[in-house]
Amino acid sequence: MLVHLFGHLQGDVVLRVVFIDTGRTVEALANQLQAWGPELYPHPITAATVRNEGGMVLELAATLTQAGLHAGDIFSVEGVGL
């Protein structure tokens, strides 16, 4: 199911809207957030840690459903080298 989430990429100053299927992985979610912020991150980064709004670290291989991410939720991505 396609849902919208709000992602904060470390070093960014806005939450960005990401539309993604709940069957995709947390890692794919992090990559999509980075891909949609190219004006801030012209050099690709490697996602290291993804957290939910409560600060819990999410398993990168888990699907969004398995990770408990639902429409309208906030997540944050911390990358290597930022």
Partner: protein, 499 residues
């Protein structure tokens, strides 16, 4: 021999009488007059404010003020605008006119609501004059915007903006609906007159007026200062209303209304004044920073108000103070990245502007300058398109502004789950305000909510059109470069007076 003023003034102001055919509660229902509902003889009969103006005096004073503004307008012909005004400053003016001209017009109805449902005749007289003020505050910006149409077609947003679903205008309508359009007389007096007008319009009109003078835009300066003299008068409506409520058990309600509207007003001012003062004002015209203006013109005044009424600082005061160094800088990045969805152009800071920002905000160099460097790098490597956002920012379900108030290391956004839906907020105070009147706010959909629900276009061209940007020329762009250079050739850069 005419009577001295003191002997006749109250005959014109204090004209309450005893109702014989209907009750006081029927004439002044709580739904329109506000709560706590208090009998006139008990709570309102001594209502008074400092100006105590009669209609005759009002007309005389306003006539002089209007003539003063028009005289400056007549003296400075359009050639002056073309030759002396910086393009950056014109964007600031265009932004301001679009955000406020028809907002002032909406305030006419608010003042008239108090003129009918205010609980004392002196309050109603004052609100009648306030309604005339707000008509004037609509007409003057419309006149200035109209005069500037031959410089830039997008000055038609002075009138057009509030008739569109542009996202900044949705945010303005949302707060003004809450502040006065969907409020009763007591709420209007406290939220509009006391908090917004005594607390914040000094910044929007007096401080901006000072910058307008330094930017050589004397018609705008004269208009802003003239408008603020009206605001200072009818803003006085709030004080006696608060005093009456405090005497009759309304302390918690007053504290709530003031806290709520302080935060909501702050959010509007970040967007309209914060970004405009620190990024659109030409460097040579800048005197103080937005933060310095806020500390002097807003914080001090508001502290005096709280002290006068022995009220507490809002619970979120430390968050407000923390935002002074960050919030409008973050929002500026978001506005620049989404500039095609604005009716004015946005700059990427030049080196002199960066130097000014570094001097005024010691943390700017380490916090925001790297972001602007990355944007410049993206433009250099991949062209202008790489400097634009690919994704929409999340929109706060209360203030309707982009959730862009975090410094890069501190994300302040949060959510609330209610009735199976998740609501997004830029900050804890916005979520707190939403929770206090949850039935009032849940039905309103943000721009993102509308796109998700299929009620607004999800494609970029459709989205632009839905916000009123039907043509490329009506979209904001980089102020100094990029596409459509022809738009910049009409207005040369200004020679600013020395600081």
């Amino acid at each position: 021999m005419p009577l001295p003023r003191d002997q006749w003034l109250d005959v014109a102001r204090k004209v309450d009488w005893t109702y014989r055919y209907v009750s006081e509660q029927e004439i002044f229902p709580a739904e329109m007059s506000g709560t706590p509902w208090l009998a006139h003889d008990e709570a309102w009969s001594d209502w008074s404010e400092a100006y105590r103006t009669s209609y005759r005096e009002y007309v005389q004073n306003q006539s002089v003020k209007d003539l003063s503004v028009l005289a400056v307008r007549d003296a400075l012909d359009k050639q002056h605008v073309r030759e002396h005004l910086d393009q950056s400053w014109l964007q600031l003016v265009k932004f301001h006119l679009g955000m406020f001209a028809l907002g002032e017009y909406a305030a006419v109805a608010a003042e008239l609501r108090m003129a009918r449902f205010g609980r004392d005749s002196a309050w109603r007289v004052m609100a009648n004059l306030g309604a005339l003020d707000e008509i004037r505050h609509t007409q003057i910006p419309l006149l200035i915007g109209h005069d500037l149409l031959n410089v830039d077609d997008n000055f038609d947003w002075t009138h057009k903006a509030y008739h569109t679903d542009n996202w900044l205008i949705i945010a303005a309508r949302h707060v003004f609906d809450d502040m006065f359009a969907a409020a009763n007389a007591i709420e209007i007096a406290i939220q509009l007159n006391l908090v917004f007008e005594t607390g914040f319009t000094n910044l929007q009109f007096m401080a901006l007026g000072a910058l307008a003078d330094r930017a050589d835009h004397h018609v705008f300066e004269k208009a802003l200062v003239s408008i603020q003299t009206d605001e200072a008068r009818h803003a006085q409506i709030g004080h006696p209303v608060v005093r009456a409520l405090l005497r009759h058990g309304g302390r918690d309600y007053v504290q709530y209304l003031m806290d709520k509207m302080w935060w909501r007003s702050w959010r509007v001012l970040i967007a309209t004044t914060g970004t405009a003062m620190d990024y659109l004002t030409p460097v040579k015209a800048r005197s103080r920073s937005f933060k310095e203006f806020v500390e002097e013109w807003v914080v001090e005044q508001y502290m005096r108000n709280l002290e006068e009424f022995s009220l507490e600082l809002p619970w979120f005061w430390p968050m407000f103070l923390n935002e002074l160094d960050d919030a409008h800088h973050s929002l500026q990045v978001a506005l620049y990245n989404t500039r095609t969805l604005l009716w004015f152009d946005e700059p990427s800071p030049t080196e002199p502007e960066r130097a000014w920002l570094r001097a005024k905000y010691p943390s700017w160099e380490s916090t925001y300058e790297p972001i602007w460097d990355r944007i410049e790098d993206a433009w250099a490597r991949h062209g202008e398109a790489a400097s634009l956002a690919y994704a929409l920012p999340g929109i706060c379900n209360l203030c309707q502004l982009p959730t862009a108030f975090a410094s890069p290391s501190r994300n302040t956004a949060c959510t609330l789950k209610h009735d199976g839906r998740t609501y997004l907020f830029c900050s804890q105070p916005c979520r707190w305000i939403f929770e206090q009147q949850i039935d009032r706010f849940t039905e309103h959909k943000t721009l993102v909510d509308r796109i998700v629900a299929g009620e607004a276009p999800s494609d970029l061209i459709g989205l632009h059109a839905s916000m009123g940007h039907e043509t490329a020329a009506s979209m904001g762009r980089d102020l100094r470069r990029g596409l459509d250079q022809w738009r910049l050739t009409g207005v040369p850069l200004a020679q600013m007076p020395s600081a």
